[in-house]
């Protein structure tokens, strides 16, 4: 059988503009809630106004009497759901609230659903339900309940890990710090709220709903509704942002689908912004204690990282923040441990860099504090503790260009000129100026995906996988990889994705989608090329006749002997000789167990921040943010830069903006809207620079791709917090850092 090279054509590596760009700038890109099938009803649900207790009364008749209202669904008349919403059929399932009973487990939980002919009537019907409650005191702060032991804080994340002897490490330390950092609840708040348009045809179900994991979502819906996953068509061509919140089905979506079956008509549910704070996941609050020690040379003797993290009363997911300390810095001993606290809040879930974002925030501040205590420049301190192999396990890194990230980032930023003492730099307009840095770090996982490739007689091809574009640029980057896999120019390749009836594209999460779905597409194209090689080497009229032992490569729609440009054959000619109108190949991608066993695989980076602080008002502005990242092969530099910048701005947001605030009396979130839950606006962002450091990784996967979606947050939070300290001399250990923290310290 002829060999074919895994190679990259001219498509990958190009800064191609978004292939979905025209659809998106003209308003033609169809998001879930843009659908409006004939006969559709609108659904609006009532969110619980208390955080703990029960619903005592609903004015059902008043709602039903409102013109246009067709159905009022409450726990008393909710149609049967074949699957148990409190079961966990897979480890990625969450227990959900679908009007099982009148219990309220958190504020914002759906307690009734109204269907009506118009959105206005459904909204008014929901308002008319005017719930009355029997409330119990809510527990919404980390001190409001007793901690419990955690076995698995996040999906597959270990709860407690110890390498070396932490007690000996503490005893051996010449310099130590013991600091505790608080991070608040944060809510994803994708611009597109969660939405579904559900249509039943007998036992067949069609869903327009944004999904970061199409096949997994269909499996969950099939379980709940007692139908076959193959009878569900889930369409998710575009997601208006996901950030982890659109991977796992939630209660409101399930209720709307159930209502559609009950009504016998299509139903649309689109969450209000306020409803986005509750049943659709969030990043849970943490309190992290870091005890770090180093010897007289500034070498870490211990990293001891304990996390207390919030989860709901009925689920287990929480921020595995301490694990951020496991793979990054060399230390004689490393301990990471977690405890949970059950609170009357919606279940937390994966939110962009789950665990790592919170953990990195605390770790990078702690490293800064220890560097200062030891009298060592923060960058030099990190270099002294550079891990050449994975700490604890001793595994080699599949690749690690972190040293170059430090150097390039520091150079671009001008770090060498940083005065060691805080509070010494002033801007011309009298602001206190500070510089800080942090290391960025994120694992490079792969999931499993499948793909199909079809080459046609005219030399064009369609490549298919049920992937998800939530803004990261999958429509473009996956097409570039697909084109290279099958050896065609990009404009000859159609990518089909975002549809559950296609081969399983896996999960768009964990920064692993490009590597996984891309790997499957590349492999499907390679399967077609292998078949072409076999055909051509057996065709007497082909220039490749008899070349069966040679190594082939495919590019520009031609099959060639590797290293011999003169000897080749066009795809179209090979198909024509064989009398084929098309040729189909299939492919898949996942990481072999041996690779995971033998190598530590991560993206790395270094982030440098400059802040200016008003000495009288405490107002903080980030003036410059430079990030240098090594993340394996960059498929599309334009889109990768956007991803990394977006991540860095999420880091800025974590450091200075975002926090959900609970009313301790009602348990409700006081700032459940986009005016008071502060996310950065354009005026908050300036002086951003992204540097990508080349990295050729032969082990991480066949394509050498590590992923760029999440790493930008890590490192950035600490860099900004450390810059605030450097500007003011005040160390704030509670996020987000605000002017009140600085004024209070005076």
């Amino acid at each position: 059988m002829p060999d074919t090279l895994t190679r990259f054509g001219s498509n990958s590596g190009q800064p191609t503009t978004r292939r979905d760009g025209i659809a998106k700038v003209t308003g033609q890109a169809t998001f879930a809630a843009d659908n409006h099938p004939e006969g559709m009803l609108h659904a609006v649900y009532v969110p619980a106004g208390i955080a703990r207790g029960r619903v005592a009364h609903l004015e059902v008749e008043a709602a039903r009497a409102h013109p246009g209202v067709t159905h009022v669904i409450t726990p008393g008349n909710r149609p049967d759901l074949p699957g148990d919403p409190d079961a966990k059929p897979t480890r990625f399932s969450f227990r959900i609230e679908v009007l099982q009973d009148d219990t309220v487990r958190y504020a914002g939980q759906p307690i009734a659903l109204v269907l009506a002919e118009t959105l206005e009537a459904a909204t008014e019907g929901a308002r008319l339900l005017a719930p009355r409650y029997e409330a119990e005191p809510p527990r919404t702060g980390l001190d409001d309940n007793a901690p419990f032991a955690v076995e698995e804080p996040g999906f597959g994340a270990p709860g407690d890990t110890v390498h070396g002897d932490p007690e000996a490490g503490h005893a051996a330390a010449a310099t130590s710090i013991d600091a505790t950092y608080d991070t608040p609840p944060q809510y994803h708040n994708a611009m597109e709220s969660h939405a579904v348009v559900a249509q039943w045809d007998g036992d067949r179900l069609t869903l327009d709903t944004p999904s970061q994991a199409l096949a997994m979502s269909c499996a969950a819906y099939a379980h709940l509704f007692g139908i076959e996953a193959a009878d569900i068509t889930l369409r998710s061509p575009y997601l208006g942002g996901g950030f982890g919140s659109k991977a796992i089905p939630n209660g409101p979506m399930v209720l709307a689908i159930l209502a559609a079956r009950e009504a016998g008509r299509p139903v649309k549910l689109s969450l209000t912004r306020r409803q986005m704070f509750g049943p659709v996941g969030h990043r849970g609050a943490t309190r992290q204690r870091l005890r770090l020690g180093c010897d007289a040379d500034g070498r870490l003797t211990v990293i001891d990282h304990e996390t207390l993290a919030a989860t709901s009363t009925f689920e287990t997911f929480l921020e595995s923040a301490s694990n951020a300390s496991q793979g990054l810095y060399a230390s004689s001993a490393i301990r990471s441990a977690h405890q949970g606290v059950r609170l009357d809040v919606g279940t937390p879930g994966p939110m962009r860099a789950p665990g790592e974002a919170s953990g990195s925030a605390a770790l990078e501040c702690a490293m800064d504090e220890l560097a200062q205590a030891a009298g060592i420049d923060p960058l030099e301190f990190r270099l002294r503790n550079y891990a050449e192999t994975e700490p604890g396990t001793g595994k080699p890194y599949s690749s690690k260009a972190l040293r170059e990230c430090y150097a390039r980032g520091a150079e671009a930023f001008g770090w060498a000129d940083r005065p060691a003492r805080p509070g010494t730099m002033r801007s011309t307009d009298g602001k206190l100026v500070g510089w800080g840095m942090g290391t960025a770090f994120f694992p490079s996982p792969m999931f499993a995906a499948e793909a199909r490739a079809t080459l046609r007689a005219d030399g064009s091809a369609t490549l298919e996988t049920g992937g998800a574009d939530m803004g990261q640029g999958a429509w473009t980057a996956l097409a570039q990889i697909a084109a290279d896999g099958i050896g065609l120019p990009l404009d000859r390749v159609e990518l089909r994705s975002g549809l559950s009836t296609l081969p399983d594209g896996g999960v768009a999460g964990g920064s692993g989608h490009t590597a996984t779905a891309g790997g499957a597409l590349h492999s499907a194209g390679g399967d077609v090329v292998r078949q072409l090689s076999e055909l051509a080497s057996g065709q007497p009229d082909s220039p490749l006749f008899g070349a069966g032992n040679a190594t082939f490569e495919a590019r520009g729609g031609r099959l060639q002997i590797a290293g011999d440009d003169g000897r080749g054959d066009a795809f179209a000619d090979i198909l024509a000789r064989a009398g084929l109108s098309e040729l189909t190949g299939s492919g898949s991608a996942s990481r072999p167990d041996a690779d995971s066993r033998d190598y530590a695989m991560n993206s790395h980076g270094a982030v440098f921040a400059e802040v200016a602080v008003d000495p009288d008002l405490g107002q903080i502005r980030v003036r410059r943010l430079v990030g240098a990242f090594a993340a394996g092969r960059i498929v599309n530099p334009r889109l990768a830069e956007s991803q990394l910048m977006g991540g860095m701005i999420w880091g800025l947001s974590f450091a200075l903006h975002e926090a959900a605030v609970h009313d301790p009396r009602s348990g409700r979130i006081l700032n459940a809207d986009l005016a008071e839950y502060r996310v950065p606006v354009n005026a908050d962002v300036q002086g951003l620079e992204v540097i990508t450091v080349e990295e050729d990784d032969p082990h991480v996967n066949a394509l050498g791709i590590k992923g760029v979606g999440e790493i930008g947050i890590t490192g950035t939070v600490g860099a900004i917090a450390n810059a605030v300290w450097h500007a003011t001399g005040t160390r704030v250990r509670r996020f987000p850092i605000g002017l009140a923290d600085l004024l209070a310290a005076e």
Binding site: A23, V25, G27, H36, E120, A190, G240, G241, M470, V681
Partner: protein
């Protein structure tokens, strides 16, 4: 109950029978006129995703009752391009990667068109950032958005009577 209004929508006069006085311009476009290009992000004027032009001014269509718009001229994202020729702001958003998920993009673009027409920002990045800060982008494509508005502002300044006018 029906309430009659007349609108000029993307250059075309439309007689609209409103079925309900509570209908916002946003829900009129999205749920009644089959024009879902304008997006709902918060429904209370906090995010800018629903920005359209009314009589040339950028407004939040979620805060505007349709019944108040009798005689108004409304321009939405669907009305910017001329056939296949994109408006300079639309092209600039693609060129500068001023979008990621694309959900806030129609509002960003309408806001940019409005801002450029206001003439207060020119091609000054600081003023563009300020003038575009009523439009939240959670993907945080702000760097590209600022570059895009600057590119379009310069282009339209050089060619005020072209497609951009």
């Amino acid at each position: 109950m029906s309430f009659q209004i007349t609108l000029t929508l993307n250059g075309t006069a439309r007689e609209i029978a409103l079925d309900d006085t509570r209908v916002t311009l946003l829900d009129l476009l999205r749920e009644r006129l089959e024009m879902p290009g304008t997006k709902k992000g918060c429904d209370r004027g906090q995010c800018g995703a629903c920005t359209v032009l009314v009589d040339g001014r950028r407004i939040n269509s979620c805060l505007t009752l349709a019944a108040t718009l009798d005689g108004a001229e409304v321009t939405t994202i669907e009305g910017l391009a001329r056939g296949d020729a994109l408006h300079p702001v639309q092209q600039a958003f693609i060129d500068n990667d001023g979008l990621q998920c694309g959900y806030c993009t129609p509002g960003q673009i309408m806001s940019a068109v409005g801002l450029i027409a206001e003439g207060t920002a020119g091609d000054d990045p600081e003023r563009i950032r300020e003038g575009m800060s009523g439009n939240i982008c959670r993907c945080a494509a702000y760097h590209g958005i600022t570059l895009a508005v600057r590119q379009a502002a310069r282009q339209m300044d050089n060619d005020p009577k072209g497609d951009a006018a």
